[in-house]
């Protein structure tokens, strides 16, 4: 097969320059992805979170049963789950009937990180649950630019979460590394979709319909010993 008909087979400098640059981008990019998704010991952890509970935000740490919620503030199914079962979960947390652990993931990219960072900042103000409900109720389209730091502050303000400390925490991305650690833990625990909910360590079967049916979810809670 003669393709070149005597033409020079290209400038070797161009060839290696291009290959070199592309290889550099790939190696640096992959390196950053791996680094960003590796748990960082230096991460600042919100006081409501617990390292041994997968860095989740914990309510009623000494109670049983234990309910773990792996979610993403930007995910529409998580909004649906929150709409169906959010009030029941919040009641468990507030009325001290179960240990409830929230794990805000960032499956859906940068705006999920801002939202999750904001959740930790709200937890510092003792307003995690308020923030949680309100953000889902006002969930914008995925990565539409609505949840920048300013957007998170504005949304939280509408939920009554304000103050210089909160704003500084959001703007600094104080807990961004913590969000990374939550995600890294989720990867280790094989959380492949959101929402994923565990009751006493047992993943709720998606076929059971409990994610989007309050009575089905309640049955599981009752079976786990909640009155």
């Amino acid at each position: 097969m003669v393709n070149n008909k005597g033409k020079s087979s290209g400038d070797p400098i161009t060839r290696w320059l291009v290959i070199g640059m592309v290889a550099l981008v790939v190696v640096v990019g992959a390196g950053i992805s791996i680094f960003n998704n590796t748990s960082k010991k230096s991460a600042v952890i919100p006081s409501a979170a617990s390292v041994k509970d997968g860095y989740g935000i914990v309510f009623n740490g000494d109670l049983t049963p234990v309910i773990d919620i792996w979610e993403d503030f930007q995910c529409p199914s998580c909004k649906a789950f929150e709409g169906t079962n959010g009030d029941a979960l919040k009641a468990l947390a507030v009325e001290k009937k179960a240990k409830v652990v929230f794990h805000p993931l960032s499956f859906l990219g940068p705006e999920s990180v801002y939202a999750a960072n904001g959740a930790a900042c709200a937890a510092d103000q003792g307003k995690f649950l308020e923030y949680h409900s309100f953000m889902y109720a006002n969930q914008p389209a995925e990565n539409s630019g609505a949840w920048s730091n300013e957007g998170v502050i504005a949304t939280a303000a509408a939920a009554g979460i304000t103050g210089a400390e909160f704003e500084a925490c959001v703007n600094k991305g104080k807990y961004a590394d913590w969000v990374g650690n939550v995600g890294s833990e989720g990867s280790k625990q094989n959380i492949n979709s959101t929402p994923t909910v565990f009751i006493n360590g047992k993943e709720i079967d998606r076929a059971s319909g409990a994610y989007y049916s309050a009575p089905e979810f309640m049955k599981l809670l009752v079976a786990a010993g909640i009155k």
Partner: protein
């Protein structure tokens, strides 16, 4: 090899350009859509249940960047033959992975262009995904056999 008359060098070079841009474009876009969401990419990789979790996570983070690089080389037309070989091989690996998920009765999205992970049992698209990847793989085979194309940065592409 004696070419049929209508397949002139020029025409084949133009076809090669289309093949190169299609193959490179698809792979580049597939990678670019995933580089910003490494968690999701890793989750899509884990959902195949083919690799140990830590290995799947590693490939989940690295593969999108690899696709971006491979796509860029094909679009630019540098080392087309080599890139086409990798692109075609990648598609064959994907076809095996998707088929294996299908055979094992998993309900997942291939996660080829972002997304991925479990889906409802009725929402799998294994056949479409396999046919698409097979078509893309054929472009890779063509370019491997005949890497010389129009408007390549490196005309006598290796």
């Amino acid at each position: 090899m004696k070419l049929p008359n209508f397949l002139t060098e020029t025409r084949l070079n133009w076809f090669g350009l289309i093949a190169r841009l299609t193959l490179g474009g698809v792979i580049f876009v597939a990678g670019a859509l995933k580089v910003t969401t490494p968690y999701k990419s890793a989750a899509a990789m884990r959902a195949y249940e083919l690799l140990p979790i830590s290995v799947a996570n590693f490939f989940g983070y690295v593969l999108p960047w690899f696709e971006v690089g491979l796509g860029a080389l094909l679009i630019l037309g540098v080392s087309t033959r080599f890139s086409a070989f990798f692109a075609g091989s990648l598609m064959i690996v994907f076809i095996f992975a998707i088929s294996s998920a299908w055979v094992r009765g998993l309900s997942i999205d291939c996660g080829c262009f972002g997304g991925g992970g479990q889906v409802a049992p009725g929402e799998t698209k294994y056949l479409q995904e396999i046919v698409r990847d097979f078509g893309i793989a054929l472009l890779g085979v063509y370019l491997y056999r005949r890497p010389h194309t129009k408007w390549a940065l490196e005309p006598g592409s290796r």
